[in-house]
Structure formats: C-alpha cells, structure tokens
Point group: C2
Chain length 170, copies 2
Amino acid sequence: MDLKAYIRDVPGFPIEGVIFRDITPLLRSPAAFTHALDALEAYCRPKQPDVIVAIEARGYILAAPLALRLGAAFVPARKPGKLPWKTIREEYQLEYGVAALEMHEDAIAPGQRVVIVDDVIATGGTLNATRRLVERLGGTVVGMACLVELTFLNGRSALEGAELFSVLTY
Amino acid sequence: MDLKAYIRDVPGFPIEGVIFRDITPLLRSPAAFTHALDALEAYCRPKQPDVIVAIEARGYILAAPLALRLGAAFVPARKPGKLPWKTIREEYQLEYGVAALEMHEDAIAPGQRVVIVDDVIATGGTLNATRRLVERLGGTVVGMACLVELTFLNGRSALEGAELFSVLTY
C-alpha cells in the first residue's frame, strides 16, 4: 500500500517556503490508517513496552490505538497547564522562543519500558523533551516512533543515539 | 468493571471550586480503556457511522481506536490555525470570551453518517459547534458520545435534541 498517496502536501503552511505534510487524508481512510498502525505495531511489539507515551495532540491519534493493540498503558505528554494533577516539565527550543511539555508524576513507574510516539518528527525537540520526562520518572525509553520523518531537518541526529522508527520519510 | 475507580478527582483544577475528573488513570489501564471503548462501540455500531469526528485534543484518544474498530473515517475538529488546508470554522461561548473549532472542507462528504466524540461533556458548547461544522459540510449527525458527562452543567439540554451517550455520569 502506497501510504504517501494519503499524505497531502500543503505548500506555504504554517509559513511561506514550507511544505506541510497533511496526514488527515490518511486518517480518513480506515485501510491506510490500519496499514500505518500495522507498521508501528511491528516496530513496537518486539520491544515489549509497558507504556506508550503520546505527544499532544496528533501523537494521540496514533498512540491510543497502538497502546490498545499492545496492551500497554497510554500516557499523554501535554502542553503546559493541561494536566490537572502533580506534574513535571521539560522545556525545548523553538525557532523563536521556548515551549514545554508536562507529564503526571505517576504516569510511569520506575523500570517501565516506554516507546514515545508522535505523528511527525521535525527537529526532534519535542521527542527529546519527552524522553527527558520519561527518564526523570525512572522509565527506560526502548524506542521512538513516528508516522512521518522530515529527514532534511536532521531530527534523528538530535536524538542522541535513541532509536527512531518512521513509517514514511521525506 | 467499575470504571469510576479509574477516574481521579482533582479538586481546585482548573480553578477553585471545581472538581476535575482526571481520566489519565483510566488510559493507563489497558483493561479499563478497552472496557470504555467497548461501551462506546456498542453505542456507535448500530448507528453505522461513516465518520467519527474527534474533538481536539483528548477526544482523539477515544475516537481514533473507536474509528478503527468501526471501519470509519477519523476526522479531527481542531483549534483555530492547526489544520493546514481549506477550513470552515464555528465559534462557541466560553464563560469569558469565545473559542472556535475548525474542520477541513473535504473532511466529510454530503450524506455521510457522523458520530461526534469527546472525552467530557460540560456545557455542550464544543459538541454543538462541532455539530454545526458537520452539518455545514452536508454530514448527518447520527449520535454524540463521550466518556464523562458532568450532568450538573446541563450540557445535554444544550444539544437541541441531538442524541448523547455517556459512559460515566457525575
């Protein structure tokens, strides 16, 4: 199945000069969505994760069905102020300024095996911040996975040796 | 299975006097998460939806695995500026001010049967705005479903006769 046929190129979003890879046509096709999940599951299952950590917001769309297939816990990494209970926070650089992600303190138990999931890897900043959150809680990141990798942004090299699986590369 | 045992009460979030119903413990339990999805699927399947519309962000967590179980399209209703292609927008009232949701113009084909999914129904404003988006695109809302209904906020009465299923009520 040619999954790239289900990715829509949108030139000029969010800013001039960028081609945005829109995954909504893929999500509208149950066959294509299932096919993408099959690939993510095939990567994740041998790693025997206890937890799938999902990065807000589009990471949820892939990570929720993936966690259920694997019988793993679903844990969200959220934007600041969204999680109601006790949280820890990690910041990461944007092109202009700083952003942050938070996780609940009880989201991961020490020693649990964790795969981190997002829809797109660009510069790798959010994946790295999420990895730091997981490690602060005592979890072991056994893998990272995404649907789309924008290779020209070199996000993979920013992951400091962590393993990354991507279903599609551009 | 007592799903309420997996909902954490957080008093004083997001503001003093409110008890927030935190669903993250439920999402961490594959058995509880599966049980909640079973209930949502049992409601949705007889309605034969073509599309599950998911409200950003926590609605995605329930709607993605639900859409895959049903063989339906997954369509997100997103906060303004997030969707890259041509969009339509509907506004809704907050306690102070106005918020909005957007959908892609091609997200739903005329005549398609749609179930709208979110995690929590409070005042019903986001569900109503999403219903207007679906109807502007020619879709037919055959149901609405959520995990948690806060009955004291009377969101159900704001839905103007649309059917609502909730797994848990408070």
